[in-house]
Amino acid sequence: MGQKSKQFDSFREAVADVKDGSTIGFGGFAMPGVPFNLIKALMEQGAKRLTLVGNTTGGAQQPRMPDMGMLVENGQVAKVICAFTAATRPTDVLPFTKYYESGEVDAELVPQGTLAERMRSAGAGIPAFYTPTAVGTELAEGRETRVINGREYLLEYALKLDYAFIRARKADTFGNLRFHRAQRNFCPVMATAATCTIVEVDEPILPAGAIDPDDVHTPGIFVHRLVQVPPEPEGLWPAKRQERRR
């Protein structure tokens, strides 16, 4: 694969070919790792009937940065697959909730570890796996379980992605990535599960070899497109979360 061709000059160009009906994974847990700039570009690009995969639809924190919920509000989404369709605190209301409750958008609620493992499996060529998570809950109702060594497990299927949108600290022209601290979260796993992984990168893209092979978190074989995030205000960067009153 051409290494030069992985570098794109703009987020607009990097997401230009996303088709209606695509399944897209979005990295991120709270602020770190969320591809704010790619989400914004996809809102402008306008692809519809998308299936979004990520931890949460977002919108419970202030200030609000681009999140999956904004694509929902923009009328681009058919379904979300995530670990939260409601907020952790019952007193918080996610913007997504009204679209879900009205039936306008479908959702599949998946325990967070199962969600990560379904994508890991997709990237590793494992079609399905058994997990003890969610056994005995309403999520397991009517689904296949199996007793192995005396314990009951639930069958879960691999989850493939057409695209993964992720954010990293460093990248080289080959697409080798390094993440900073909690920025990593779902990003490496989604990269393995996707046909096309698009990365927004905090720092200038390095020549191949500038990242020591021992220090690579995600190898470039899983990475297809790189865009460097420009400084504010053109580029979007994590903001300090406003503490909420209890």
Partner: protein, 224 residues
């Protein structure tokens, strides 16, 4: 909004933290459980694991220490202790699913006398917020729960059977409430320690199932 009778939220967390043993890998849920690490003076050997893959985090970061890309499960900016490490989500949950977490402490709406608990979905709600709770509940070596003893309407949260959708069944080992420290017994709850200002009769009236009282019932221990 908080129940004022008995222990404060911080005291409920402090009591639970006394159960942690040196060398344990500890996972703290959002809300009151997070407070278990507030009084960690660093003289004990606990490693805090956060579901987003941060292992060995310390206290909440001061404005000078703050790194916006370093958060715990609650999204708080935290610090790292010497020896900390970071892994991706699939590895973080391999740590959980593989049984490497010694204790997970979570909040809940209800706990049953058989050790079921409910913390992800309210009555009549479509969908909910599972996060990592089901993975942790099914796979951690011990599940401890911290919750207010009664609902805002005064009803019990320690119940004979959960009427909310459960997170996992038969897993809860220990419960810290503002009324005291409890264990599910199968047909009720054992009151191990009682909060100041509460009577056994008062607790019995607001607890589901059969309440047994520990021999030589002591007040809730709050420090070592």
């Amino acid at each position: 909004m908080s129940e004022t009778k008995g222990l404060t939220r911080q005291q409920m967390a402090d009591r639970m933290a006394l159960e942690f043993q040196d060398g344990w890998i500890v996972n703290l849920g959002v809300g009151i459980p997070t407070m278990c690490s507030n009084t960690d003076t660093g003289d004990r050997d606990f490693t805090y694991h956060s579901e987003n893959g941060v292992i060995g985090y310390g206290g909440v970061a001061s404005p000078q220490e703050e790194d916006l890309l370093l958060v715990n499960a609650g999204g708080q900016n935290v610090t790292l202790k010497p020896g900390a490490s970071v892994v991706h989500h699939a590895d973080s949950f391999a740590i959980i699913r593989g049984g490497h977490i010694d204790v997970t402490v979570m909040g809940a709406y209800q706990v049953s006398m058989t050790g079921d608990f409910a913390n992800w979905k309210l009555k009549g709600q479509k969908g909910g917020g599972i996060g990592g709770a089901m993975d942790l509940a099914a796979c951690a070596k011990r599940v401890f729960i911290i919750l207010e003893h009664v609902t805002r309407a005064g009803g019990p949260r320690l119940v004979t059977a959960c009427d909310l959708p459960v997170t996992a069944r038969g897993v809860v080992k220990l419960i810290s409430t503002n009324y005291g420290l409890f264990e599910p017994t199968g047909d009720g709850f054992l009151l191990r320690e009682i909060a100041p200002g509460l009577t056994v009769d008062e607790i019995r009236a607001t607890t589901g199932g059969k309440l047994t009282v520990a021999d030589g019932l002591k007040p809730v221990q709050l420090s070592r």
